[in-house]
């Protein structure tokens, strides 16, 4: 589905805070409040949830800090009060309910990569050409279009944003850096 997010490019925030030259990555830490988040009892992931982007990915105009969608303030389930939207990556890369943003030198250890490294890479770009260990990523099923009979459609490279973001990965072996 195509979602009308409300927000601005993260690059505006990054320019305002002026990170040091040694910053190579941006790390995002999510709220971990057991009073309102019963899911924290699960041991599937280590908490708090962490995500990260390479600095050039974070500076890309398509990387958004979002505060709302469909003209409404962001609901809790969608990552209130502020979340990331990185449209060319799988959804878990878009950190939600952000409470801390850090500039770091080393590639941050992201939650799903820690939990299942053979399944979830740091980059996790939408890529129909690289199969997941157990299933193909060449097709996808759109949400909200017909329930049970929704047919699959071909996945697009970088989720359709190849023209805007492919240059970030020029020369990178995306099978290795999945």
């Amino acid at each position: 589905m195509v979602i009308p997010w409300l927000g601005y490019s993260l690059s505006a925030l990054i320019s305002a805070v002026q990170p040091m030259g040694s910053a190579k990555y941006v790390e995002f830490v999510t709220l971990a409040d057991p009073d309102v988040m019963p899911g924290l009892r699960s041991r599937v992931l280590q908490w708090p949830y962490r995500e990260g982007l390479r600095l050039d990915e974070a500076l890309h105009p398509l990387t958004l800090l979002s505060f709302g969608l469909y003209g409404e303030v962001l609901p809790n389930a969608n990552g209130a009060p502020v979340r990331l939207v990185v449209p060319w990556k799988y959804g878990f890369k878009s950190a939600k309910s952000i409470v801390q943003i850090r500039f770091v030198e080393q590639q941050p250890r992201t939650a799903w990569n820690v939990s299942a490294p053979q399944e979830y890479g740091f980059y996790s770009n939408v890529n129909p050409q690289v199969a997941h260990p157990r299933w193909s990523q060449a097709t996808e099923r759109p949400i909200g279009q017909g329930g049970l009979t929704t047919r699959r459609q071909p996945t697009r490279m970088f989720n359709g944003y190849a023209e805007q973001v492919a240059h970030l990965y020029a020369g990178m072996d995306l099978k290795r850096f999945y």
């Binding site: 599937v44 299942a116 299933w135 193909s136 909200g144 329930g147 049970l148 047919r151 699959r152």
Partner: protein
């Protein structure tokens, strides 16, 4: 027992599937109904398998041999759930048989699922007395011990599926249930 009561008991194991199909048609299975349906049918297949293998120990333990009639009944229902699970995958999930064949050949997780389903279909096809007479009791018994292979393959299929989310609580639950059932049979075989 009245005929109606007997009829009801016969169709009762189909209730979970019936509900899920109803909810699928009503489109109340959430944002990804195909996945919800596929996973529900898969998990109920596993429940069916565990229940089927529980009949014999339960009948012995409770000293109620009349419970044994549930063994074939639940076994066939388990097969019915497996067929629906596979059908949802082939019909609703994959856009074309070529992709299904590709999946089977390239993805061991699908291949073991298919292998388990094939074993269960052989068991379903030979579940009535006629097959037992035709095969002879020893060959029939040997064939039907294939259920343990099917169970192991199903657990592998389930484990590989759940490792995608590093979420093994259910794998432990069904694994333990099956381990107890197999363990009971091994102890009985030892005498």
């Amino acid at each position: 027992m009245s005929l109606m009561m007997r009829g009801l008991l016969w169709v009762a194991p189909g209730l979970p599937a019936a509900l899920y199909w109803l909810w699928a048609v009503q489109d109340v299975l959430g944002a990804n109904p195909v996945e919800a349906l596929l996973r529900a049918l898969g998990e109920w297949s596993l429940v069916g398998l565990c229940l089927t293998l529980s009949v014999s120990p339960l009948a012995k333990w409770l000293r109620k041999p009349q419970l044994m009639v549930w063994r074939r009944r639940l076994g066939l229902w388990t097969f019915a759930y497996v067929v629906q699970h596979a059908a949802v995958y082939v019909v609703f999930d994959m856009p074309g048989l070529a992709l299904v064949v590709n999946d089977v050949l390239q993805r061991p997780f699908i291949a073991v699922g298919l292998a388990s389903a094939l074993i269960l279909s052989a068991l379903a096809a030979t579940s009535y007395q006629r097959a037992r007479i035709h095969l002879g009791p020893q060959r029939w018994q040997r064939l039907h011990q294939g259920v343990y292979v099917a169970a192991a393959l199903s657990m592998l299929h389930f484990y590989w599926m759940r490792s995608g989310k590093n979420d093994f609580a259910d794998v432990w639950f069904y694994g333990l249930w099956l381990a107890v059932l197999v363990g009971w049979r091994l102890l009985r075989a030892r005498g």
